[in-house]
């Protein structure tokens, strides 16, 4: 399966798992009052169809370890709802303009309403985990514990990133970046789906150390690619405004590389830009920053920061590949196992 799996096959499988998750999600997104100010808006981001990597990874891992889709659908819905809650709050924190090709919620409805909608989605995300019938009491409790742990780690990672931007922290190494994304991205994008899928599929008997490491590598490859797409992707496919990360002063691998390689004067300008970006509420207008962001991209191209991140990501993907064979060493070959393995190159090749 793996050898024959093309990019389109991976995306078709993602679409299949994603569709199952969306169908199961509907019962948590039903019409109810107050609709106009809350529940109509709660359905907004989930209706903007994304890749569905998180629920797909969870469902596939559960199947690979011998479980069924029905057993894992609740947690799959939970992570997708939590993901959408994170997106709303992230967009506010970054003052992003676009999400999945459309204006962000807070830009349309205002920040106070958007914060509340994000809160509602976060609470709704707990609901699918409350029905322990498909898993039994012990596993349900374990999955809930993992969920709380994942949320905590993600929020901690986000706090570190916001802190770096607010304090204009610039003396960073690639390992600092990896530690950051390990918290803010990997936990909820790959580590939790893999751990919970393995737990459910194996009825709690699977060792999770190797799974956790694989999840870290896979999530890191995902985030590095995401950061690159923000600079050089196709906006229509990527769904977010290009150069948004630069404007927001996000500490990406490319930025860290540029900070370490730029001339003294360029570095000074860069640090001044980041200082302003970290306090974006004080900016007179965004248009002035757009020019600076373009200039920074040019510097990144000039100093090979994009190529550095691309190759660095390949090194991470190599670790993911090795780790996959540890984590799934005793898992029988199957379509779902092949799909998970194919996600490694997919993380490096995806365009959205």
């Amino acid at each position: 399966m793996t050898a024959a799996m093309e990019l389109s096959d991976v995306e078709a499988t993602l679409g299949h798992y994603s569709s199952l998750t969306r169908d199961a999600m509907q019962q948590y997104l039903r019409d109810r009052a107050p609709g106009r100010y809350l529940y109509d808006l709660v359905r907004d981001y989930p209706s903007r169809i994304g890749k569905g990597i998180r629920p797909s990874l969870l469902l596939a891992t559960c199947q690979a370890f011998g479980g069924s889709i029905d057993q894992a659908l609740g947690p799959a819905v939970a992570i997708e709802l939590a993901h959408n809650a994170f997106l709303i709050h992230d967009d506010i924190e970054d003052d992003s303009r676009q999400r999945r090709g459309r204006p962000t919620l807070h830009r349309v409805h205002g920040t106070p309403v958007a914060i509340n909608v994000g809160d509602a989605l976060a609470v709704l995300a707990m609901q699918p985990l409350r029905d322990g019938t498909p898993l039994g009491t012990r596993l349900s409790q374990r999955v809930s514990d993992e969920f709380v742990h994942m949320l905590t780690r993600t929020i901690e990672g986000q706090a570190i990133e916001l802190g770096w931007r607010a304090d204009n922290v610039v003396d960073l190494e690639p390992t600092d970046y990896l530690e950051l994304i390990g918290q803010k991205t990997c936990w909820y994008t790959t580590v939790w789906p893999l751990r919970v899928g393995a737990l459910i599929g194996s009825a709690g008997t699977a060792p999770l150390d190797a799974i956790t490491r694989f999840g870290f590598y896979l999530g890191a490859a995902f985030q590095i690619r995401d950061d690159l797409l923000n600079l050089v992707g196709m906006e229509a496919e990527y769904g977010k405004e290009l150069l948004g990360d630069v404007r927001e002063g996000k500490r990406t691998l490319m930025l860290i590389h540029l900070l370490g390689n730029a001339s003294i004067d360029q570095r000074k300008s860069l640090i001044a830009f980041l200082d302003r970006a970290g306090k974006h509420s004080d900016l007179p207008d965004d248009s002035a920053l757009d020019i600076d962001a373009e200039a920074i991209l040019e510097l990144m191209v000039h100093y090979g920061s994009l190529e550095f991140a691309f190759q660095f990501g390949q090194g991470v993907a190599t670790a993911a590949y090795e780790s996959f064979h540890d984590a799934f060493a005793h898992v029988p070959r199957s379509a779902s196992r092949g799909f998970i393995e194919a996600l490694i190159p997919y993380m490096l090749a995806r365009v959205s």
């Binding site: 039994g136 194996s202 709690g204």
Partner: protein, 235 residues
């Protein structure tokens, strides 16, 4: 890097070259940096996992596996394919059994709760299911009565004493007894006390029996035993 065969590429893949990924054997310096940095951070990442798994389900996260089992998933931890499947089957069976026991217990508890609630309103005394009153002839005998409301509605009751009769036909009339408070209002699931007092007057010494009843509560009844002692100088 690990002896695995490369897939024919000496250098890194490009995004357009999608296909099964294999570990790169000819690493550039940057790829090597990425690999090393990720490996270092992954180790710390797993070590920081402070969740405590239930006993017997998995090794503690961050525990280093034996040297001959690089991922801790070798035969010793029961993950040979056949044994792993057996463990899964046993774990599922145990989960089912545990949930069956739990749901049975919850069902039993619900049943008991229903039974208790169906008992309605009951009288009780400090002595259990029998109210014993004692006093000397010509004096007063007093005791405490409790009324328990195990229904889901508020109850109001007016307790009263029946005639108390001795074995030889003597009677202490109901009018000799009184309650304080005279009427009780009890919330659902609550209990309330009342003091009962019997004026013995000319009652002859002996043992008298009767009931505490309550107007409006036909099923509530508390047996009463009244012991009347002979006073000095009386017979």
């Amino acid at each position: 890097m690990n002896g695995r065969e490369a897939d024919g590429h000496a250098g890194p893949r490009r995004p357009g070259e999608f296909g099964p990924f294999q570990a790169l054997t000819a690493l550039t310096d940057v790829q090597r940096r990425g690999l090393d940095a990720a490996t270092q951070v992954a180790r710390e990442f797993a070590d920081r996992l402070d969740m405590q798994p239930p006993p017997g389900t998995q090794p503690t996260a961050g525990t280093q596996p034996p040297p001959d089992q690089p991922n801790g998933s070798g035969p010793e931890n029961g993950h040979e394919p056949g044994l792993a499947q057996l463990r899964v089957t046993v774990a599922r069976a145990l989960d089912l059994y545990a949930d069956l026991v739990r749901s049975s217990f919850e069902g039993y508890a619900d049943l008991m709760d229903q039974m208790l609630r169906s008992r309605g309103v009951e009288f009780d005394s400090d002595g259990g299911g029998l109210l014993t009153l004692q006093g000397g002839a010509g004096a007063r005998a007093a005791g405490m009565v409790w009324m328990h409301n195990t229904t889901a509605r508020q109850v109001s009751a007016v307790p009263r004493l029946t005639d108390l009769a001795s074995h030889d036909g003597r009677v202490v009339p109901a009018s000799a007894g009184s309650f304080q408070p005279a009427e009780l209002t009890i919330e659902p699931g609550a209990s309330s006390p009342a003091t009962v007092e019997v004026v013995l007057g000319d009652v002859a010494p002996g043992v008298y029996r009767g009931y505490v009843l309550a107007r409006g509560l036909p099923d509530a009844a508390l047996p009463v035993r009244l012991l009347v002692r002979a006073e000095a100088g009386r017979s």
